[in-house]
């Protein structure tokens, strides 16, 4: 069955809510992985805690479902112990940007040879929709009932400025583009970061007047702008750091560098 080429059929049905963006990410990852012709026996998946971290448990490959926020640290050890193994990390905005924020910037700084997919749905889904480090300013969650007083992290820009070799962001309303950047990233060295900006209709959507998957997906589409389009519009990349300024999130390939990776550096 085509759907289970890289996933564990005996673990179906999966636990994700109807309309959740994680399903799209799973599907995009499978396509890119198969297009790339990679070997499941020579790929390991590492994740932390949260909805998106459950992804590792559905892949029919060696997978390490670890502690909250620490996936990149576990993955670093695994990669260094078996240097020719492709190590893929599945994580989310709470796992990577909040509790695991330091491991995130340090892994990017080292340009560690890891492939990282972050499903950013702007809130903690597993625990019922609390504010995360990427929840938009003034948006509602169960722990910001009067609107979020804080401002969000831009995870992709954090990755790019911290030194990740390859950084790309698309929303789950852009599946074709997601497949393309995952495929492109899988063929590179160093830290490759894919941010999949995703719908969470059950919580973030429901609390913010977009409870249906269609509404939520439309919101993603309407609030994102391609980096090439920004150039046409004459806007600088800094414009989107404060999401309240432009109201748009930059999508596209945000960094494609050829910096020496950690493995290259220690094997010189």
């Amino acid at each position: 069955m085509e759907n289970f080429q890289i996933y564990r059929e005996d673990r179906w049905p999966h636990m994700f809510c109807p309309g959740c963006g994680i399903g799209t990410v799973m599907s995009c990852f499978q396509r890119a992985f198969l297009n790339k012709g990679l070997d499941l026996d020579r790929t390991a998946f590492v994740s932390g805690i949260g909805c998106s971290s459950r992804l590792a448990g559905y892949v029919y490959a060696d997978s390490l479902h670890t502690t909250h926020g620490r996936a990149l640290a576990f993955a670093t050890g695994l990669k260094l112990a078996q240097k020719d193994l492709e190590v893929v990390v599945f994580t989310g905005d709470g796992d990577l940007g909040s509790i695991g924020g330091n491991h995130f910037i340090q892994a990017c700084r080292r340009n560690m040879d890891l492939f990282v997919v972050c499903v950013n749905n702007n809130n903690y889904g597993m625990t019922g929709g609390q504010v995360s480090s990427t929840t938009w300013h003034d948006y509602l969650t169960t722990t910001t009932p009067k609107g979020n007083p804080e401002y969000p992290f831009d995870l992709s820009r954090v990755a790019a400025t911290s030194g990740a070799n390859y950084v790309a962001r698309y929303t789950t309303a852009h599946p074709k583009q997601l497949v393309r950047v995952i495929e492109e990233g899988l063929g590179k060295k160093g830290l490759r970061f894919i941010e999949a900006w995703a719908a969470c209709p059950t919580y973030y959507g429901r609390y913010n007047k977009m409870a249906s998957p269609v509404e939520h997906t439309r919101w993603l589409k309407e609030n994102s702008i391609h980096i090439e389009q920004m150039k046409v519009d004459g806007k600088t990349a800094e414009d989107d750091i404060d999401l309240q300024v432009t109201g748009k999130v930059t999508i596209g390939v945000l960094r494609d560098a050829d910096r020496m990776s950690y493995l290259e550096a220690i094997q010189r």
């Binding site: 060696d62 502690t67 990149l72 050890g77 112990a81 078996q82």
Partner: protein, 372 residues
């Protein structure tokens, strides 16, 4: 490998023991008094083809070690008090995922930052119960530089044999103390590799609770999770699965006490018995060599506590004195077993503050007990 006589610090002896045991991955973070282990590893590990990385903190250090273990490496980290506190969550992860690895805690005085370069034994209970949830743990405590070497090898061997994290409880004094030791050619245990093919069947229960290890990248397609999981590794919320899992994890340590527990008994016929581990055991040894009426029970394995051996050693004693550089972490453990052995006088000689108990202090305690 040939044996060699060398003059080393405790921290360096730990590194040499680790290398002899086959350690090929080390991740750590600078913290006194364990920093010497990280620095020595940086020099020594690449010479044998291993990899060292200084991580961003102690949480990521133990995480990297566990990741490396799944990559097939014998792996170790070392830290001191505050760092050991940070490692607790992932220590529990290593327990439930049955990951062989070694964690060295060169103990210093706490709580919190405390005294970064003075020794203490304040982490004995933390090693046992620091991570949340019901579990078993193995912890070893050396009392001299030779034992730092020997017990590091023992720690690796036990971690491989029982697929469990093992804690080596050194301290600030041992870490920096220099002694002449022999790099002995001790037997080395290697983990048994899971049979070829995917993990689909319950091997663990057939083999007395310890399953062979499905190393990543070899086609086992294994799923490893800190969630309660079935024997093939899939998450489960069933009470039955959790009961079975915990019973097996706890049982594989407690049912094998006889194999795991190491201890030494000196002057077995003496009427008074001192119980001491770590650096105070050295002070006690001085007393024991001078006085035939004082014996010593030194647990090298702190957890699980060698209760049966201790009870045998305590039988018929007039008094038992427990010497600890804390407020009495194993005292109650000793007390209940000494009571069962029929000993009436059981006291604690507790030294806080970073000082090492002197033989005279122990003698004073014994005299005080006799005088009562």
């Amino acid at each position: 490998m040939p044996e060699e006589e060398v003059f080393l610090q405790g921290n360096e002896a730990v590194v040499e023991g680790a290398l002899r045991a086959g350690c090929r991955f080390y991740a750590g973070y600078p913290i006194c008094p364990s920093t010497g282990i990280l620095e020595t590893m940086v020099m020594r590990l690449p010479e044998v083809g291993g990899t060292v990385i200084q991580m961003e903190d102690e949480i990521s250090s133990i995480a990297a070690v566990i990741g490396a273990a799944w990559g097939g490496a014998k792996a170790m980290t070392a830290t001191s008090g505050p760092g050991f506190s940070l490692m607790q969550e992932n220590l529990g992860y290593a327990v439930i995922t049955e990951t062989p690895c070694v964690i060295v805690d060169a103990q210093r005085s706490g709580p919190s930052t405390g005294q970064p370069t003075l020794p203490s034994h304040g982490d004995i209970m933390q090693a046992r119960w620091g991570t949340h949830g019901s579990h078993s743990i193995i912890a070893l405590a050396p009392s001299n530089v030779q034992e730092c070497y020997d017990l590091t090898i023992e720690a690796f061997n036990l971690s491989e044999k029982y697929r469990t994290p093992v804690v080596l409880l050194s301290d600030g004094e041992l870490a920096h103390m220099r002694e002449r030791i022999v790099l002995k050619d001790l037997p080395i245990v290697n983990r048994e590799e899971f049979p070829k093919g995917p993990v689909t069947f319950p091997l663990g229960e057939e083999l007395g609770g310890v399953s062979p290890f499905p190393t990543f990248g070899r086609g086992h397609r294994t799923h490893v999770t800190g969630l309660t999981h079935t024997i093939v590794g899939y998450p489960s919320e069933s009470i039955e699965v959790q009961t079975k899992l915990l019973t097996r994890l706890i049982g594989k340590i407690s049912d094998n006490r006889k194999d795991i527990c190491k201890y030494e008994v000196h002057n077995p016929k003496a009427e008074h018995l001192i119980v001491a581990y770590g650096i105070p055991a050295r002070s006690a040894m001085e007393l024991v060599t001078e006085r035939a009426d004082i014996g010593l029970f030194q647990p090298l394995t702190i957890w699980p506590f060698p209760s049966k051996a201790f009870r045998r050693a305590a039988e018929g004693k007039k008094s038992v004195l427990v010497v600890e550089m804390n407020e009495g972490h194993i005292f109650r453990e000793v007390e209940r077993h000494a009571c069962r052995a029929g000993v009436e006088e059981i006291e604690l000689c507790s030294k806080l503050g970073g000082g090492i108990p002197a033989p005279e202090e122990m003698l004073d305690c014994i005299s005080a007990m006799e005088g009562e």
